[in-house]
Every structure is written in structure tokens, then in C-alpha cells.
């Protein structure tokens, strides 16, 4: 009897210890600065929601496969996932994500405060909410305002091109400015002899995201991904070819190794002061104001991406590639606790997280734009306002990234074709024809009719919020 009581006591003790220990939630995301908030608030989250986080970072370019392999195998390895919106449709359609609608009434994610693009296309699928926003990405034009205002440079520019040096608003102006500022080591820039080569511009050259830099031009020329009715790829249209021709011109004023550039290289070439202007994600504006990360603090201007002139007006479209949302795996050990965590990051701490140069997270709520004083890395509130206004200007004319199942493959095959043209292996038309053929093959494999229905639904939604 005594033995039995002893056993019972031990059992109850162990059970109560197990019951009292916090729930362990596994978080997966792209390694580096965007996982930092999970570390910063780990203690708060433990106190508030009784959860312990294990954070797993995987390389940026490998997030899709790492997440998908575990989801397919149904291992239940992850609870909270940072997901790029382009995977969301595929993950949700396969039933791998936990729908969040049931939690919304209990804990309001304040979706009305989120700008429509990020709210409706990056977080929802088939009318259901599958994620909360975490990072709002849109491309913007960053340039060296100190060089633009330099009298000597202004004079030389006017002499050469016959008009005043200004922030380029059209692709033609962009090419002129890029050409003008491309200098060799030993030449002068703003009165000083250059120790290294200086470039007019640069772009993201790796095959996974290069589509977006071409896409800014393509979209401003009126290009679309597919013909809605026939689902025939439209990337090799006149707009596509023209956009690639313009990009080939831009390529002349870039660093020679630009085709190897990813996010880091593109950020560094600008913030190291080796390049006049880049089109980049908003976080580069924040990081550029941080002396620990930038050699050009206080010298950066931000504007909308260039476009084309139509009837006296500039028609521009800024691509919205990447972005991050927080989703919960369908097999999560505790979806409610996981929801509380992502709600905390998406609602409670989000302003702090998007307004620090420590992360690569960018504004996505109206409230983020209404508090310029939070962006303390800028020298003053006025500079922060200029930065936010520049980002907002692009967001209003945002061109959404496709979020169909198979988007990773669509974008990468397009990227390969663009690179071939830029490296001179193929002419722009042949390269885009090759990409269009690859897209037809992908369509067939994923089911043309299913893709057509999803694409039409997407376009309907884009039109409804004025992004199409």
C-alpha cells in the first residue's frame, strides 16, 4: 500500500510539473534580422502566454523547401512559420495551415489598420484568414540626395542632357542619371577624386527575385502575368520585351558582378557609397540612416520607382515582392497559444519592430505610417516623414506579386531567362519566349484550369482594392 501511495505521489508530482511547464512552440523563418523580435520578446511571451519559443532560422532562399518538406511529411515540426505570401496559397490549399478566423473574435488582429494589399492577398486564401502580417514589402527608389544637390554635378548634367538634374521619374530619366553618375576610379565625383569605381545604379541579379526589378518596368508599361481568359503567359508580350531591353540598358551602369547580387550585396553597394541609386525594399532606407550600417547617413533620398509618361502624367508601378506573414501550422501543438504569439508580434510590438534598423521588417499598418517619431534612427522627424511618404507613395501604386501555387517556380524560371538576356546569351524576345514556354509547362503540371480559376480570383481581388 505504501509503495502504491509513493508511486501515486510521484506520478501526481511529475504530472503537475509537466502541466505547469510552458508550452514549447517551434518558430521557423528566414535566418537573420527578421527573426530578432522572437528573441527580443521571448521573456514577455513566456510571462504573458506561458510559452517557450524555439527559433529555427534557415537561409532566405531555402525557406520554402524547408517548410514544405516538413509540411508534406506531416512531421509537426513547426508551430509558427514565417511564410512569404507567395507560398501561402499553396500551403493553405493543401490544408497545411491552421485557419485563424475562429480566433479573430477572441483577439482582434486589427486588420482594418493593415493596408489592403498586405491584408487581402498576403494573409487570406479562399476567403479565409491564414496568417497575420509581419513585414510589408514594396520596392522604392533610393538615391544620393547629396550628389543630386551638388552644384557642380547639376551643372555638368544640364550641359550633357539639356535638362535639370532631378530624381528620375521615367525610365528614360533613370537611364540618363545612371549613365551620368557612372564613373571610373580616378575620375571626380562632387569635386573629389574617386578611389574606387562608382556606379550609376545596381539591381537584384540572382534568379529568385530578379523578376521584381524587371517587373517594375514591365508593370509600368502595362504588362500582366497571364491573359485572364486563355491563361496564356503574357510575360513575353511587347511590354515584357521592352522592359527587358530597358533593363539591358540599365545593366551597363551597374557593377560588373551585379548578376550575382542578392539582397545583401545590393544593400551594401549603396550603403557603402559605391552607387548613386538603387531600387530596394524599404528596410534599406532605415538601415541607411543607421551609422553602424551605413556610410551615407543623412544623404539618402527616397522616391517612387520610375515609370512611363502617359498624357502628361507619370504612370509607375512598384513591385511588392517578398513580404512576410506569420502563419500557424495545421499540426501545431497549441494553435491558440501560437495565435496569441503572432498576434502580439503583428499588433502589439509591430510599430517597434518595423521602426528599428535592427530588423528588415517594413511598415504595413496605417498606424506605422502615422508615427514618424518612432523611427528614431533618422536625424529628425522630418526625415522620417520623408522616408515614410516615399514608401507610402510606392505602396499606393503597388503591383502585387503572384501568389499562385507554383509561384516559386514561375519566378525562378523567369529569373533564369532574364539573366540569360542580361548576360547576352539570348536576345530579350527569345529569352522571354523561353520563359513563357516554361510557364506553360508549369501551368500544365499544376493544372491549367485550377490555376486559371485562382488567377481570375486574384485579379478580381486586386481590382477591388485598386492594385490592378
Amino acid at each position: 500500500m505504501r509503495k502504491f501511495l509513493l508511486f501515486l505521489f510521484a506520478f501526481v508530482l511529475l504530472a503537475s510539473v509537466a502541466y505547469a511547464s510552458p508550452v514549447k512552440l517551434v518558430v521557423v523563418g528566414d535566418a537573420g534580422h527578421n527573426l530578432k523580435p522572437f528573441e527580443w520578446y521571448a521573456k514577455d511571451l513566456k510571462e504573458k502566454f506561458d510559452v517557450e519559443l524555439e527559433v529555427i532560422g534557415v537561409p532566405f532562399g531555402e525557406l520554402y523547401e524547408k517548410e514544405k518538406v516538413e509540411l508534406i511529411a506531416g512531421t509537426g515540426a513547426f508551430d509558427i512559420m514565417i511564410v512569404f505570401p507567395k507560398f501561402l496559397a499553396e500551403f493553405a490549399a493543401n490544408g497545411w495551415l491552421y485557419p485563424l478566423d475562429e480566433f479573430v473574435a477572441k483577439l482582434d488582429p486589427k486588420l482594418d489598420d493593415v493596408t489592403p494589399g498586405y491584408r487581402d492577398f498576403y494573409c487570406k486564401y479562399g476567403g479565409k484568414l491564414y496568417a497575420l502580417p509581419y513585414d510589408g514589402d514594396v520596392l522604392s527608389l533610393y538615391y544620393r540626395k547629396d550628389l543630386l544637390e551638388n552644384e557642380e554635378e547639376r551643372k555638368a548634367f544640364k550641359e550633357k542632357y539639356g535638362y535639370d538634374l532631378k530624381v528620375p521619374e521615367t525610365w528614360d530619366e533613370y537611364l540618363d542619371v545612371a549613365e551620368f553618375f557612372t564613373r571610373k576610379a580616378g575620375e571626380k565625383l562632387a569635386g573629389e577624386v574617386l578611389q574606387r569605381d562608382f556606379y550609376g545604379t545596381a539591381y537584384y541579379g540572382q534568379k529568385d527575385q530578379i523578376f521584381a526589378w524587371w517587373g517594375n518596368i514591365f508593370a509600368s508599361l502595362g504588362g500582366v502575368y497571364f491573359d485572364e481568359e486563355t491563361m496564356e503567359p503574357a510575360i513575353n508580350s511587347e511590354a515584357g520585351v521592352k522592359a527587358l531591353e530597358i533593363m539591358k540598358e540599365i545593366h551597363k551602369y551597374c557593377p560588373p558582378d551585379v548578376l550575382a547580387y542578392g539582397y545583401e550585396e545590393l544593400k551594401d553597394v549603396f550603403l557603402n557609397g559605391d552607387c548613386f541609386m538603387v531600387i530596394q525594399w524599404p528596410c534599406v532606407g532605415k538601415k541607411g540612416a543607421d551609422p553602424a550600417q551605413s556610410k551615407i547617413v543623412g544623404k539618402i533620398g527616397v522616391s517612387h520607382v520610375p515609370g512611363v509618361k502617359k498624357d502628361g502624367e507619370i504612370y509607375y508601378r512598384a513591385m511588392m515582392p517578398c513580404g512576410r506573414v506569420l502563419a500557424i501550422a495545421a499540426q501545431s501543438k497549441d494553435p491558440w497559444k501560437a495565435y496569441q504569439v503572432i498576434h502580439y508580434l503583428s499588433v502589439v510590438t509591430s510599430l517597434d519592430d518595423v521602426s528599428t534598423p535592427e530588423t528588415g521588417l517594413d511598415p504595413y499598418r496605417y498606424s506605422h505610417f502615422a508615427h514618424p517619431e518612432a523611427y528614431e534612427m533618422f536625424a529628425n522627424v522630418e526625415d522620417a516623414k520623408i522616408y515614410l511618404a516615399g514608401v507610402q507613395k510606392n505602396m499606393e501604386k503597388g503591383y502585387p506579386e503572384m501568389v499562385l501555387p507554383g509561384t516559386v517556380e514561375y519566378e525562378e524560371t523567369l529569373g533564369v531567362a532574364l539573366t540569360k538576356a542580361l548576360a547576352g546569351e539570348l536576345d530579350p524576345k527569345s529569352a522571354l519566349d523561353e520563359a513563357a514556354q516554361a510557364w506553360r509547362d508549369i501551368l500544365e503540371r499544376f493544372g491549367k484550369e485550377q490555376q486559371k480559376a485562382l488567377y481570375q480570383e486574384l485579379v478580381k481581388g486586386w481590382k477591388a482594392v485598386g492594385l490592378w
Binding site: Q206, K207, P255, Y261, D274, V408, K420, E425, F446
Partner: protein
């Protein structure tokens, strides 16, 4: 088996059974299943229906320019990479096969690149190759040579991978061939010298024939390893620009784990296996026919 009694036979069977089961589960079954997959279309992006298509994936491979491009890049690593590693490795092994002060230290230093984690090797070479700030271009500039676009040019980046591979794996050749050289008895050198052979005659008539089995094995191991080159491709270029420096293993990875076309990726793996088995056979035949020791 005929000599065994029935009871002993069962006993032997029971002892062997766990090994057979493990082999079947972790080796034979995946082989058979992946071969079956190579005959199916199985894109696990949506729904994941598996359809038997016979040789369809293999036929698709033979019209896939990207696959042939990756084969060409892998061939470059085998030809220029392993070839140079062998030439350098043999030269260094011959130099180190004599006694001098600090020899052990020199041999250990030679081994360092091979001991470093491949990820670190990739990161080091990425810095070395940096166009604007890399030490390699800096040195070239000092010599009056223009900067080379190591990673951003489609025609150069495959060779940049080869160069890093040479740096990493030449020590393997050095150490293996050095071990082979040290196994050759001194008497044979002395006998050759007594017979009036000069250095070249000793090398070509005595040393190399005796070293041949080690040479063949060393090259075979490196060829099999280099055929699967993946880490340097990922770390240095991600197969880029575009697809310019993709290796077969990297393209296979993309097909299987980025595009999730499992049937096609399996077919690609089997073609790779066939190629490597054919290459290995050529080496092993030469080993069989010409072994001296």
C-alpha cells in the same frame, strides 16, 4: 548450405534476418521505390497525384537543355578540377616524399583546406572573389591585371567553382599519393640507381607503375565526390548567374526540393547514378588490368 542441419539453418537465418530487414528498409526499398517514382509523374505541390508515365521522365531529361548545361558544368569540375588536383597533388607529394626539417608541419598545413568545413570554404572564397573588395582582384590589380568578374559572369563563374574545389581538395590527393609513395620500398630506388637510371627513368619506370593503384583509387574517389558537387555551388553562386554554374546535383536538388517534381528528380538521380557507375567501371577495369603490386 547443404552441410547445415535444418535447425542450424534456421538459427543462421534468424541471425541474418535483422541485417536483411535493415538493408531492405534503408537501402533496397528506397532504391526500388525511387526507381518506380522515376517512372511516374509526381508533383507534390498540389494534391500530389502520382501517375505512371513509363519512360516519360527520362525522355524529358534528354530534351532538357538545363540538365545538359548542368552536366557540362559538372564535367568541367571533373576534367579541370580533379585533373588539376591530381597534377598538383602528385607534384606536391613527390616534393614532400623526402626528409627535411619541419616536414610534418608542412604536411599538416597542406591538409588544412580539406579539414575546414565546406561551408566555411564557400564563405572564404565568396569573400576572396568579391569584385570590388576581394583580395584576389586586389592582387591582380597590383600586377596590372584588370579585375575579374569571378561570380557575376556566366562564362567565368563555373571556373571559379572549379578553382575553389581545387584549393579544397588538392590536399586529399597530396596525402593519398604521399602515403602511396612512402609504401614503395627504398630498395627499389637503390636498385634502379645502381642500374644507372636517371630521375625521370626512376619515376616513370619504378615509382609511377607502383603508385598506379593508389592513383586510380584517389582519382576515382575524387571523381565520385566531385560529380556530386553541391556545397560550393550553393555558397558561391547559387548556380548563377541564371543557371550558368548549376551542377547536376544542384539542379537535381532544385527539381526535387524547390519545384517538388519528385518523379523527374528521381529520373535525374538514376541518370546520374548510371553515369557515375560507368565512370567508376572504366577506372576499375584499368585498375584490374594494370595493377602492378
Amino acid at each position: 548450405m547443404g552441410g547445415l542441419r535444418k535447425r542450424d539453418w534456421w538459427m543462421a537465418f534468424l541471425f541474418v534476418l535483422p541485417v536483411v530487414v535493415i538493408l531492405l528498409a534503408i537501402s533496397i526499398f528506397p532504391m526500388v521505390y525511387s526507381f518506380y517514382l522515376s517512372l511516374c509523374r509526381w508533383d507534390i505541390g498540389m494534391g500530389g497525384q502520382r501517375t505512371f508515365i513509363g519512360a516519360g521522365n527520362y525522355l524529358r531529361l534528354f530534351s532538357d537543355a538545363r540538365f545538359f548545361n548542368s552536366l557540362k558544368n559538372t564535367g568541367r569540375v571533373l576534367l579541370f578540377g580533379v585533373g588539376t588536383q591530381f597534377a598538383l597533388g602528385l607534384s606536391l607529394a613527390l616534393l614532400l616524399n623526402r626528409s627535411f626539417r619541419g616536414r610534418s608541419l608542412v604536411v599538416t598545413l597542406f591538409l588544412l583546406p580539406m579539414m575546414i568545413s565546406p561551408v566555411v570554404v564557400g564563405c572564404i572564397w565568396k569573400i576572396i572573389y568579391h569584385y570590388q573588395y576581394g583580395p584576389l582582384n586586389y592582387l591582380l590589380n597590383l600586377l596590372g591585371i584588370r579585375s575579374v568578374n569571378w561570380l557575376g559572369s556566366g562564362s567565368i563563374s563555373p571556373y571559379s567553382i572549379v578553382l575553389a574545389d581545387i584549393w579544397e581538395w588538392t590536399p586529399f590527393m597530396v596525402i593519398t599519393l604521399l602515403a602511396g609513395l612512402q609504401a614503395i620500398p627504398d630498395d627499389l630506388y637503390e636498385a634502379a640507381r645502381v642500374d644507372g637510371a636517371n630521375r625521370w627513368q626512376i619515376f616513370s619506370g619504378v615509382v609511377f607503375p607502383l603508385l598506379r593503384p593508389v592513383v586510380i583509387i584517389a582519382i576515382l574517389i575524387r571523381v565520385m565526390d566531385a560529380f556530386k558537387i553541391f556545397d560550393l555551388v550553393v555558397l558561391l553562386t547559387m548556380g548563377g548567374p541564371g543557371q550558368a554554374s548549376e551542377s547536376v546535383a544542384f539542379y537535381n536538388y532544385l527539381t526535387g526540393f524547390k519545384y517538388f517534381s519528385m518523379g523527374y528528380a528521381s529520373a535525374m538521380s538514376y541518370v546520374q547514378l548510371a553515369v557515375i557507375v560507368a565512370i567508376a567501371n572504366v577506372f576499375l577495369r584499368s585498375f584490374k588490368g594494370r595493377a602492378v603490386v
